[in-house]
Symmetry: C2
Subunit: 157 residues, 2 copies
């Protein structure tokens, strides 16, 4: 595989289908991310996950500074949908869905069992998006309620 | 190819070897980027390129809002090194290196001939990095001179 454009294409496809973002060491919470990036910054391999101000997961990311990304290929679409619509404030999603908690090897949180690719990350930088950075077309798509994302830049460990 | 982790690995390798970023419609300028990201945001395919405040390229990006990324695989390392150290304020790098200007199909700027992968992009959002977003370890690696990057989020056209 050595076509950068295809890598991009494939990346886009996988991300678009959603991945599980897990944070929290004692009572881990799982949410769905279907937007994000992968790349290199500051000589480090990184993944970037956008998390909205209102999200329960944000509290764990800010407090504990670690997360995992578990990517299922072509499966678990029901679980992805559930984790993208229910909040961990109201329901333990691991329990409700019977998801398997797999202890991280390099971080003090968990991964979702049965996925095909995993990233274990520590939060390296946080970039809160603000209205002045974004054009109207983007605000219409994503921020009509002003619930802006913070971009969490995670170093892949 | 259906291993997300390998996609990440390959992405990291290609990016680390450098790509040509071109902006400017009348007198295009080329610079080297060896950091960056690819992904999905706001339902769009994106690439993200970091450009420092001091860079000549920044003027074109801000004024014209379009750019291309040309990625050479395993070659052109001399040209990548040259474009990463010389400024377009002092030298026309296309001319000095004899690089072939290839007209963009979807943007009013150029690509670098002879590369293996291309992205044509319009600037969708600009995120200026500031000291408060970054930990000391990152500032030491990249910002000892306070010449911060702006992250240009480009929609892949």
């Amino acid at each position: 595989m050595n076509d950068f454009t295809n890598i991009g294409q494939t990346m886009h496809e996988y991300l678009n289908k959603g991945a599980f973002l897990v944070a929290g060491k004692d009572k881990p919470n799982v949410m769905t991310v279907s937007w994000g990036m992968i790349g290199v910054m500051w000589r480090k391999k990184i993944v970037v996950v956008p998390v909205r101000e209102s999200r329960y997961t944000k509290e764990f990311l800010d407090k504990e500074g670690e997360f995992t990304l578990s990517v299922p290929f072509e499966k678990m679409s029901k679980e992805i949908a559930f984790c993208g619509t229910k909040s961990g404030r109201e329901v333990d999603k691991f329990e409700a869905l019977g998801l398997k908690k797999v202890k991280g090897e390099k971080v003090d949180t968990y991964k979702v069992g049965g996925c095909d690719a995993y990233f274990e990350c520590r939060v390296l930088a946080k970039i809160p998006l603000t209205a002045d950075m974004l054009p109207d077309e983007v605000k219409e798509i994503a921020y009509q309620d002003s619930d802006y994302h913070t971009l969490y830049i995670g170093e892949v460990l």
